[in-house]
Each structure stands twice: as structure tokens, then as C-alpha cells.
Amino acid sequence: MLANAPRLMLVGRRLVQFVPVIVLATFVVFGLLKLVPGDLAATLAGEYATEERIAQIRESYGLNDPFLVQYGRWLWNAMQLDLSRSFQSNEPVLEQIMHRFPTTMLLVVGALLVSLVVGVPLGILAATNAGSRLDVAVTSLSSFGVALPNFWLAMILVATFSLSWGWFPATGAVRFGADPAGAIWHAVLPSIALAAGGIAEVVRQLRSALIEILSSQYVRTLYAKGLSPSAILWKHGLKNVAVTLLTVIGLLASRLLGGAVVIEAVFAIPGMGSMVVRAAIVKDFPVVQGVVFTMVILVIAINLVIDLLYTIVDPRVALK
């Protein structure tokens, strides 16, 4: 019980620290879109609108208020889960996001799993055989993974596994709630395409962290004590790379979320990514704001969880 007190303190401190980050990040989202050249109301009103109509729109969107007032109102509404309405469809943005959120998350979680399931064993294999041919092969493969454009890989996967062999669907997605098996079926190829860079990242980081630990003083002592190499690796080595692994997972979550935008485009997946790209092209600002806001909050939340997990994996963190 006592051990939990510092942890709770840390949670509290982290939560307080995240408040300014959220405020600043949302300020950027809101402020940047205010820099858009031209009169937003005039654009919204259309080409042949009268002066009165433009003034009316300006009034209804609150565009006459000072910038900070507009930002405050937007943030206040966002906190109450009101992300305004799409300029294009006039649908509430939050509703659209909630509709697409599970699809994108399935893709991101799938890619994270593939990255870890493939990356962790490869990273361990490379580190424990550092300098060998196997190590060279694994590290070369991971350099390939870093340089491979994920959208190109996605197209090649579609051409091969969907269109030629018909193993997986080529496009679209199924809602997880409606048909879990179908949803996963649709998410297999996109997840693999998205995971290519993730695997490479996991291998690189895990390999270098494990090599550093395996060549440290205390591991040498363990050898001197007569422990077998496998006992050293499993009991001491891997326990100590857990922190690195957590850091990588946090990093990947953010990157995969960004990567999902691209992969969704290739597979025509109706997720948050395809939504924000289309909105950016047609300048549907409430939608862009809403999706970016959601993604930033997601990244912040993931970082918070990772910070907490640090204290569980490495109790020293909580005491600092």
C-alpha cells in the first residue's frame, strides 16, 4: 500500500504536467487554422452570397469575436465533447470521429502487435548473436524496413495477396462491433504494411539496448557467478530492456497513428486518417481540427499510460 503512495503522486504530477501541454497543443491546432488566408465566412457563404449572408455566417460562427475568445469557446466546447460541425456535411465532427475511431484503432493496435511479435524475437536474436551473419541479416532487413515506403509496400501486398491470390480483401473495412472476424480479416494486410517500419524500429532499439546490457559490468559478474547464458538473458537481460521496450511502444503508437493516415488511403479504409486527408484538401477546418485534436489527446494519453507503466517495470522511476 505504502509503495503506491509515490506512484499516485507521480500520476497526479503527470496529469498536472499534461494540462499545459494539452492547452498548448490545442492552441496550435486552433491558431494555425486561423492563419488561413482569406475570409472564412465569404468562403463558406459561397461564390454568389450577399454581404448580409456573409455577415450572418460570420456572426453564427462567432468569427467577429477576438481570437482568444474564439479559442476559449472552442476549447470549452471540446472539453464538453462538442467538436463543432463539418463545413461540408454539417454533421457533428465528434460523431464522425467516433464512427471511424474503432476502424483506425484496430489498424494501429494490429500493427503494434505485428511490430512486437516479429520485432522482439528478431531483436533478441540479433543482440545475442551480435556481429554474426544472423545479426547482419537482421539489421540489414530492419534498414530495409525503415526505408520502405509503407504505402508502396501496401500496394504490393494488395497486388499480390488480394488481387492475384485472393487471400485477403483489397479494400475497405468492416466495423469491429458488427463483425469482429471480418474486421480483423480486413485489417490483416493494412496492419502488416503499417508494421514494416515498426518492426524495424523495435529491432533496432531492442538490439542496441540488449547489447548494452549484456556487455555491462553486472552481467559479467553473473557470468563469473556461473549462470548460464540463457538464464542471464531471460532473467536479467530482458527484465532490463523492458523500459526500452515501453519507450519504443510509446514512440510507435504515435508513429503508427500517423502512418495509419497513409495506409487508410491505400486500402480505402473509412478511418480517421482518410477523413482528415479529405478534409485538408477541401479545407473543412472543423474536421481537421477535430481529428488532429483527437490524435493529440490520444498520443498524450498513451504517454501517460507509458509513464505509469515505467513505475511498475522500474520502481526506481516512482521515487524520483
Binding site: 499545459p20 488561413v36 504505402f151 500496394m155 497486388a159 504515435s254 486527408v277 478534409a279 481537421v288 498520443v299
Partner: protein
């Protein structure tokens, strides 16, 4: 500090290029980069057809002796278009990295050197900016600026600023605490002088390393935006935009997407290989270890 002493004691180091080309990967990477630069420079002489001339061949015609990489939907020669595409990749990558580097480094130095409240607030701003997945930040910026090649490059460059600022800030903080900065201040050096003469030269190796390591992903990133339709617009022969156009014909004319993608992949791979080697040579910590 001890550079003069160690130079006298150690045997003469091999030249920079000898060391750079000391690994097979770096040699391959350099060759590919030289080829890409050559294609970019001499595209009009090397390309067998006009990159924008339609009806050079049957629509979506497969590979042939006349058209090595086949033809696209408008009967344009893909080989010629891929060659012209070389003009965008490295140029875009270098431009975006330059933007990220210059502004990121400036921000990082100012924040860390300013110290106190400036540093506390600045660090928070950087933290906040790092919460944006880079591609999301880039999309946000494109939404503001509008789609296009130049705007996409700006967006990618700006979205890299927080990353560069954070690394520069950390590096500057350790430098500011060192004796030589303290003594420079003690003898009355101006802030500008301290930053330009004392901090910047010491930061340079780190900055060069992160810039080279970033170049590959910058090339990839700008191509990605074009692929999404946010960057280069058709008929520009940019590899990402070409891949976007080839998307519809993956099944019946895979060559429309295979060759631009391969060119992009090889370029990024080459830049990364050289970057890895360069960072090994330039990174002071790595150098001390070897």
C-alpha cells in the same frame, strides 16, 4: 580543448572520404546517391521521351524495348518520368531538412541559452509540439497553406522543427554548463558571440548527424504527402504523385507503381546507409568508443 595535443600524438587519421567509404553499405549508398543526382542533373539528356508527352505509347502498355518501365494511363513513358522524378526527391528532402534544422536549432539554442523561465516555457512548447504525429502536423499545415509541392515541403520542414529543437536544446544545456562558456561570459563576450563562436561550433557535429539521419525520412515524408494528394499535383513526375496515380491500376498495370516506388525506396535506402555511416564518423561519442 585537447585537440592539438591528441593530433600530435595520434597517427594521422585517414581522410574524411576514405573513412566514409570504409563500409560496403556506405559505398553502395554513395553510388546510388551519385546516380540519383546524375539523373536529376542530366534528366533532359537521359530521358528517352518527354516526361509530359502523352500518347507516346498505348495506354498502360507493359514493359518493352522502347519503353523500359512501361507506360501510364496517358501513354506517357514511365522510365522518363522516373528519371525526372529524381529532381524532386533529394531536393525536397534537403529543403525540408534545412528548414527543420535551421529553425529547430535556432529555437533549441535560444531556449537553452536563455535559461530560466524562457527554457521552462520553451521546453513545454516543444513537448506540446512533439505530441503531434509528424504527418498529422504536416496535414494541418497543408490545410492552412493549401496543397502543392512547395507547401508540402514547408509542412514537412516545419513538422520536423520540434524534434530538432529538442535535441539542440538538450545538447546546448550541457554546453552552457561547461567552463568554456562560463569563461567566455566572464571575459565579457556578447551573447551573439557566445552562441556563434562557442556554442554553434560545438553543436555542429550533432546537428550534422541528426540532419543526415533525418534526410532519408524527409525524402520519404514529402513523397508520402504527394501520394496523399497533398503535395505535388499531377502531371508533376514526382514519385509519390506517380504512385498515387498508379494506385488504380495495381492489378492490370503494376509497373505504374512498381518503378516509382522502387526509385523512392532505393533513394531513401541509399541516404540512410550514408547517413548511418556519417553519424558513426561524426558522432563524438561513437568516435571515442572506436
Amino acid at each position: 580543448m585537447s585537440a592539438a595535443v591528441s593530433d600530435a600524438v595520434l597517427p594521422r587519421q585517414p581522410s574524411f572520404f576514405t573513412r566514409l567509404l570504409g563500409a560496403p553499405g556506405a559505398v553502395i549508398g554513395t553510388v546510388v546517391i551519385v546516380v540519383v543526382l546524375g539523373l536529376a542533373a542530366f534528366a533532359p539528356y537521359l530521358a528517352p521521351y518527354d516526361w509530359n508527352a502523352t500518347s507516346q505509347c498505348r495506354r498502360l502498355a507493359p514493359l518493352s524495348a522502347e519503353h523500359w518501365f512501361g507506360c501510364d494511363l496517358f501513354g506517357r513513358d514511365i522510365f522518363s518520368r522516373v528519371i525526372y522524378g529524381a529532381r524532386f526527391s533529394l531536393a525536397m528532402g534537403l529543403t525540408t531538412v534545412a528548414i527543420s534544422l535551421v529553425f529547430g536549432a535556432l529555437l533549441g539554442i535560444v531556449i537553452a541559452y536563455g535559461g530560466g523561465k524562457v527554457d521552462r516555457i520553451g521546453a513545454r512548447v516543444i513537448d506540446a509540439m512533439l505530441c503531434f504525429p509528424p504527418i498529422i502536423l504536416a496535414i494541418l499545415i497543408v490545410a492552412v497553406l493549401g496543397v502543392g509541392l512547395v507547401n508540402a515541403a514547408l509542412a514537412v520542414g516545419i513538422s520536423g522543427i520540434p524534434r530538432f529543437a529538442r535535441i539542440t536544446r538538450a545538447a546546448t544545456l550541457t554546453l552552457v554548463a561547461r567552463d568554456f562558456v562560463e569563461s567566455a561570459r566572464a571575459v565579457g563576450a556578447t551573447h551573439t558571440r557566445i552562441v556563434l563562436r562557442h556554442l554553434l561550433p560545438n553543436l555542429a557535429p550533432i546537428l550534422i548527424v541528426i540532419a543526415t539521419l533525418d534526410l532519408g525520412s524527409a525524402v520519404l515524408f514529402t513523397a508520402t504527402l504527394s501520394f496523399l494528394g497533398l503535395g505535388a499535383q499531377p502531371p508533376t513526375p514526382e514519385w509519390g504523385a506517380m504512385l498515387n496515380a498508379g494506385r488504380e491500376y495495381v492489378r492490370y498495370a503494376p509497373w505504374t507503381m512498381i518503378f516509382p516506388g522502387l526509385a523512392l525506396f532505393l533513394t531513401v535506402m541509399a541516404v540512410n546507409l550514408v547517413g548511418d555511416r556519417l553519424s558513426l564518423i561524426l558522432d563524438p561519442r561513437q568516435r571515442d568508443r572506436s
